[in-house]
Structures are given as C-alpha cells and as structure tokens.
Symmetry: C2
Subunit: 312 residues, 2 copies
Amino acid sequence: MSGFVGLKVFAPATVANVAVGYDILGFAINGPGDEIKIYPGKEPGLKIRAIHGAENKLPKDINKNTAGVSAQALLEHLGKTEEPIELEIYKKMPFASGMGSSAASAVAGAFAVNEYFGCPLSKRELLPFVMKGEEAADGAYHADNVAPSLLGGIVLIRNNEEHDVIKLPSPYGIYAVVVHPNISILTAESRSVLSDTISLNQMIEQTGNIAAFVASLYRSDFELLQRSLNDVIIEPQRAKLIPHFYDLKEIALKEKALGFSISGAGPSLFALCQNSLVAENVAASLVKHLKQNKIESQAYISLINGEGAVKL
Amino acid sequence: MSGFVGLKVFAPATVANVAVGYDILGFAINGPGDEIKIYPGKEPGLKIRAIHGAENKLPKDINKNTAGVSAQALLEHLGKTEEPIELEIYKKMPFASGMGSSAASAVAGAFAVNEYFGCPLSKRELLPFVMKGEEAADGAYHADNVAPSLLGGIVLIRNNEEHDVIKLPSPYGIYAVVVHPNISILTAESRSVLSDTISLNQMIEQTGNIAAFVASLYRSDFELLQRSLNDVIIEPQRAKLIPHFYDLKEIALKEKALGFSISGAGPSLFALCQNSLVAENVAASLVKHLKQNKIESQAYISLINGEGAVKL
C-alpha cells in the first residue's frame, strides 16, 4: 500500500419503521450522513485518529465506537487486524435524532475497510459486520437502519438473524421529507413507552397495511400507498413524546403528503410525497409550525437514495 | 325476459389466511366450488327452489341462506325485488371444511343475479353484496374468502369495511394442494382457541413474513416465498385442533412443498408448490398418511384460479 493515501466513504441517514414496518422497514435519503476517511496508519492495528463534528460525545475506542466496531469486525473476518489503519470520522448528522446516526457510522466503518482492501466482499456481505457496529450502539442486533444505509432504497427486513433483507422498489418520483426538531428523546425512553402486547385486531389491521404498502411500491400506486401508510400500533403510543405531533401530522396531510409518521424512534418526523413541490410545501409548513411553537428544526428533502453507501 | 330460460354460474373454493395473512389473505382454486342456476320464477320475488348436495343442512329461506342473502341484497340495490326469480343451488364442496363453502355460495348468489340482469355491476362492485351473504353465514363482515372466490387470484384485504382489496400476482406455475380430512371443526371453536393478544415480537416476525410474502409474489421468488410462509401466531394455536398436524407438515415440506399450513379455520390443509409434480407428490403423501391414521380425506390440486366466479 506504499504511496496509497487512503479514501473517503459516505453512508446516508435513514428512516426506519416507515409507519407500518416497525423494526422491519427502512429507507435511505441522500443526505445528511456520515463520512469516514481511511488511510494507512503508523502502527499495526486499527485506530480512530479523530472524530469531527461530535463535540467529544463519541468514544474513540475502536471497541466502543460503532464505526470502529464494524470496521474491526470486518478486519477480523479478513485476517487483517495487524494492518496499520487509521480512520477519521466526520459526523455530519445529528445524534439521537431518529435518523439512523449510529447506523450510518456503522455502515461507513465497515464499508471503508472493504473499499480500502479493494472490495473483497459485496455490499450485501457486509451486512453482518455493520449490524455488529449498530448493536454496539443500540444493544439490539437489527438491520432496519443499517440495511438501507448500506444498500440504499426501501429495504424490508424479513429476519434480522438470517440477514434476510429485501430491497423493495422505490416508485419513480417519490420524495421524502425528514424534519428533525431540536428536542431530545432517548431511544430507550422511546422503547419503554411501547406495550409488550397488542391485540389480534390491531395485528390484522397492521398486517393489512404493511402488505398493501409493499404492493403499492411494486405497483407505483400512490393512492394505495397513501391508504396503507397508517400505523395503528406504534405511532399512537409514541406520539406523546413529540410535541405537537398531531398538529404536525394534520399540516403534512393538508399539504398533500401521502403519509406522515415518526422516523425511527423519533424525534425526527418523516413524510412521503408524490413530487418535489409537495415535499417542499410539507417541509416548509412543518418547520414554520415548529418555529411558531419555539422549536428550531432542520428539514431534509430527498428522493429515496437508491445507492446507499458510496466511495466519494 | 320471456323465453329466457336462465343461466348457471360457478364460484370456486378458496384458501383463506394463507399462513401469514390471518383475516387479510386468500386465494381461489379451480375446484371444487358451488354452482347456482338462476331463472325466471312464477311469482314476484326471489325464491330458492332447491338445494342439491346439502342433505337438508342448509336453509332455503332467502333471508338465512348465504346465497339468498347476497342475491337479495343485490336485488334491493338494483330495485328488482319484485322480479320473479328462482335459484337452484348445487353445493359441490364440503361444509365447514375451511375451504370457503359459505363464501362460494354468497359469491354465486349475487354473481348469478348480476349476470341475470346483464351485468349492471362490475365484479368488484359486487363485493359489498357478497360480503353481506358471508356475514349471514359467519357473523363477521370479512372478505378473505369471498374476494378471491369472486375475483380470482391471490387477494389481499387491506380493509374490510372500506372494501379495499388488492389482487396480488400469482407467480407462474405455482400450484396449490388442498387436503380436506373428514373430521369436523366448527369455525367458532377454531376462533375460540385464539388468544386476543400477541406479543410485539410476534408481530414483528409476522409483519416481516407477510411483507416478504407479498414481495415474493411480485418477484416470482419461490425461495423468498418459502422463507416467508411461516405463521408464528395462528398456526401454533390451531394446530392442536387438527390430528397429526405437525406430522403432515413435515411430510409436505419433505416432499418439497414451499409452505404448508391450515386453510381458513381448518380442518382443511393447504400447501403451495413450485410445480404440478411436487403438488401431486405432496397430495398423495398427505392423503396416505391420513389414511394410515384412519382418516379419510379428499385432495384437490390446482393452479391458482385467476378468474374467480364465472358464468358457465
């Protein structure tokens, strides 16, 4: 590797759950996301040289940092743990936002290592390693953020343990709006409000909606998508954690969003929209309403990101 | 209508639930099914002249018979309740079998009336009327048997009250085996064994499977279909009502069925198979095993019926 100065990768933010797919659906957006530089180090082994944009909130220990854990897991698999490698992490998205910040880091870490060694593994083969990184941050071995960040698109997780993930079609022209209000909710808190049980009738309604949502993507049927994007289980329990949730939902739907719900564990919110004009109106109205209620926010407007992690 | 001697229609048997779609999925098979003759009567109003093949087990009262109820509901809608009309019903499939016997009658009744008057409504517009017939037999207003019997194919019910049903693609060459063991289970009994609540983790697993099942149909991906056809909620609770259920399942999967579970509320069982040879092997092995255990049974092998109710 003499003379090789390294490379840089990007892994995008993601929206998990997508209203009707609690723990089984997620999609990637074009930005924001995390960037990681990988280059030859001076001593054997992996080291995180710097983390930019994190205000000392993230550990540089490779066994604790999500990017470090996924990178190291892949290095072990490749038998390259003695290679002198350094990572420089550029956090370019908010933490604990419900936009898959830890997932983007986990994806970027392993993806960078794979690119560094000339792509010995396919993207899909990286999934177990990035899931290990996510597990380090989150305590759960799940792919609903890492799979779309890695692979791009709208991704269905049939089964986490089996790494059985299916890339669903993204209907042409569909736009996502993600709004991040500057309030904080811990994932643990967001999980603790959820009941361990649901009724059989709720399950029937939810399964009808998730099945119809998948069909709507294959059919590019926006009306069906709109009717399907209706979470009767998780959203009603979590809405109370997000100030003005139902007002915001009403505003988004009035502006003709196809659907609106909580992104991941919140507090970010997302809407799916039929075109960029609707998306811009939805984003502006949501930000305005939050501001009127003294909550600053950032809005991101994006086509569904079909590519996932990329070398820059 | 002078000189008009009437006509005959057929509505097919159906498999509801389809393992992962409790109350939201069903598909039609080519046979068996119910036939109804409709012709001009002598006095004003609807009358059921005869029911063949039912051994006096079904009511001839048009307000109680499922075919009568759906036919009458449509006649009311059309403003034709004073027309002299007679129905002759040919029950050509077993009762209380889990194969949608009452649904086939309900479909045939309204479908016959619609054909009789030159098809004033489309097939899809008949749905509310056939659902009323099914409700009379079953007490529940649901479409998981009537919709596929009417429309054909593999049908997803997103919402019963909204009549929001979606015809999913049937992958080319896929065969269904339905085996009806000659034992009886009442639908009420089959419902009473079901817990009113399920865990959140069960829901995650079931939603992953139903979503992947829908994707597998659009992709014609038999391997994904096989992985998805796994009911973690209803089947484990109902299996005990069907003698030798798990032995039969093992046999079906050993014979290379893509999946095997209970048809509707049982006792019929179904398997989906990649081709007719597998289907024949599965059917023969299931019938043989039941016979060895002193249970007679009938097996039906069929492509997915894409057409539903037809005029004969």
